[in-house]
Structure formats: C-alpha cells, structure tokens
C-alpha cells in the first residue's frame, strides 16, 4: 500500500506539467494549422496569426510553476494531497489549453477575412486563459497547506 500511495504522490507531482504540456501541444497544433491556412489566404499580417497560434503554450508555464510548488519530499502524509491537487490542476490546464486552441482557431478564421475583428476575436481565448489562471493560482494557494 505504501509504494502505491507514494506512486500516486509522484503522479500528482508531475501531472500539472505533463497534462498542461499535452494540452498546449494539442491547442498549438490546432491553432497553428489554422494559422498556416490563413497564411495562404492573406497578403500581410502573418505574424499576428502565428502569435495567436502560440497562445496555448502559456498554459504549460502554469503547469511548470505548479509542479515546482508541489515539489517536496514525498511522504505518506503529503502524497494523497499532492495527488489530488496535482491531477485536478493538470486536468483543468489540459482542458483549458485544448479549448484555447479551438478558440484561437476560430479567431484566426474570423480575422483572416475581416481584419478589424482581430482584437475582439481573441477575447474568448483570453477568457479561457483566465480560467487557467484561476486553477493555477488556487493550486499555489492550496499547495502551501500540504505538509512538507
């Protein structure tokens, strides 16, 4: 039982980073595919499409910070807490990154034909970033309560 609990602790420790990286990859892949399509259609302003396609990558940074904040010597007392906090934060970041990729895809598709909507079309992606920030900040707050 003891190795299992410690194993779950390790899983929780790396989950925020691992899951956030997976989500960011999927999000960037989708938004990047959209940006490549838009590059074929527009004559200028390529940089901003690539910039929007890179937005989901920020979520991996939150994953890195949460994993660093959870890092400590794993014991039977702190492993369950690290597992719960790490896995749920990781799942939240994973979904946020994928959803943000889809929002960026839609933004690129809309703004390639109507450049004046570029700013406002990123708003949904920014909102999703906000949800990722909530998950990130509260993970940091709660990590402080897990025994060292």
């Amino acid at each position: 039982m003891e190795p299992l609990i410690l194993g779950l602790g390790w899983l929780g420790l790396y989950a925020p980073l691992g899951l956030a990286a997976i989500g960011s990859s999927v999000g960037c892949m989708r938004a990047g595919s959209a940006a490549c399509g838009a590059l074929l259609e527009v004559e200028s302003g390529y940089g901003r499409f690539i910039g929007v396609a890179a937005l989901p990558s920020s979520i991996t940074i939150y994953g890195i910070v949460v994993t660093m904040s959870l890092r400590r010597e794993l014991t039977l007392e702190n492993s369950p807490g690290i597992f719960g906090l790490g896995v749920l934060t990781g799942l939240a970041l994973l979904y946020c990154a994928i959803a943000q990729g889809d929002a960026c895809t839609a933004s690129i598709n809309a703004s390639k034909s109507k450049q004046e909507v570029f700013g406002i079309s990123i708003a949904p992606a920014a909102l999703i970033e906000g949800f990722a920030v909530f998950a990130f900040v509260f993970a940091l707050v709660l990590a402080a309560d897990i025994p060292k």
Partner: protein, 221 residues
C-alpha cells in the same frame, strides 16, 4: 477535428451572400489546389456529389428521366459521408418536386410515379396527391407554394433565386455543424458553385443558348 481540415478551411476565403457578391473570391484553379488537402476518400465523394447536385449538373446528358435516376441512385451508393449524403438526397428531392410542379403545369400528366419511381422518397406521395396544389408536402418543404407561384408565372429567374437561397441556407447550416471539418469544406465548394452560377447569369447568353437548344431539338425531330 482533423488538423489538415483546419488548415484547409482557414485557407478558404469568406464567401459573401451570393446576391450581394460582385465577384468570386477564389478561382476554380486555386480552389482545386486547396482541395488537395482533402483525404482521398472525401475528395472522391465530393467529386461524385458535385457531379450530381452542383447548380450546373455535370453528368453527361441522359437519354431519359429513368436513366438519369438510375445514374443518381448508382452515384449515391458511393457517397458514405452522412452529411454529404443527406445533402445530396435533399437536393434530389428538391429537383424531383420541381420536376413534378413543372410536369403538372406543362403536361398535366399524373404518370410521375412511373417516371421517377425509386428516384425520390417523395415520388409516391407526389403521385398520390397529384391534384393537391403542393402535393401535401408544404409542411415538409415550406418553399413549395412560392416555387409553384413562380413556375405558374413562368418566372425562371425568381425560381432560381429562391432555390439558390434555400440551398445556400441549407449548406450554411451544414457548415455550422462542423466548422473545421469535411462538412464545412463541401458546403463551401457547393456554395461557391452557386455563387459562380449567380455571377454567370446573363439574359443575352441565356437567350442564345435557348435558341441553340430549340434548333437542336428541331433538328432531331
């Protein structure tokens, strides 16, 4: 969500409503180049569907309605994508109803079922309700009364506009169901075809083409 379809959809330009368009936003050549991103099976199905339901049908001239229907049925067997198949059936039904309205006006024959049997799910209903103004199908197809009015008034232009509008809306709905998938791609291609047909409308050319057809028919008989 297949990534190459995201690229394909975002590489296609915005299509303005056909009635407001002044020019086509993309040439056929460039569209074909972009369509190379389609999966081979999707591309094959799109070619078959285009031949069947594009505004200017590209199938070779059939000898009879029955032959035409047989060809349509055979082609339909090769379309397995649910949304594309549903749209093709929708268009074939639409064409069947228009053919029935025209036949009733010009020939007043009720042999419609014999001619199109198996060609449309509504053939039997149309035949059974031949004397009803809208074949009792207006609840399913609300555009029938309007189309009937245009056919009776010999207003082909207004009928075209009505049918194009209905198909355009249907394709927009299909595209909205999967904005970055095959649905959005085939909806774009078929809407582009409508746009081309609308922009190519020319009363003078239509008249000369009509006269050519009259000559052709006169020479055959």
């Amino acid at each position: 969500m297949a990534e190459q379809y995201i690229t394909l959809v975002t590489s296609l330009p915005y299509l303005p409503p056909f009635e407001k368009a002044e020019r086509s936003p993309i040439t056929r050549l460039r569209l074909e180049q972009r369509l190379h991103m389609l999966e081979p099976d999707d591309a094959r199905q799109l070619v078959i569907a285009e031949a069947l339901v594009s505004w200017r049908m590209s199938l070779s001239k059939p000898k009879s309605d029955q032959e035409m229907l047989l060809r349509c049925r055979a082609a339909l067997q090769d379309i397995s994508h649910p949304a594309l198949r549903e749209f093709v059936e929708f268009r074939l039904d639409q064409q069947t109803i228009l053919a029935a309205l025209r036949q009733r006006k010009h020939l007043n024959e009720s042999s419609f079922l014999e001619q199109v049997n198996g060609g449309s799910r509504w053939a039997r209903v149309i035949s059974s309700n031949w004397d009803s103004p809208d074949f009792k199908l207006a609840a399913v197809y609300p555009w029938i009364p309007q189309a009937r009015t245009y056919i009776e008034a010999n207003d082909a232009g207004a009928l075209d506009r009505l049918m194009m509008g209905i198909i355009w809306e249907q394709l927009s709905r299909i595209a909205d169901s999967n904005r970055f998938g095959f649905e959005a791609v085939f909806a774009f291609v078929l809407k582009w075809d409508i746009l081309q047909a609308w922009l190519a409308r020319d009363a003078g050319k239509a008249k000369s083409r009509f006269q050519e057809l009259i000559k052709e028919v006169t020479n055959v008989s």
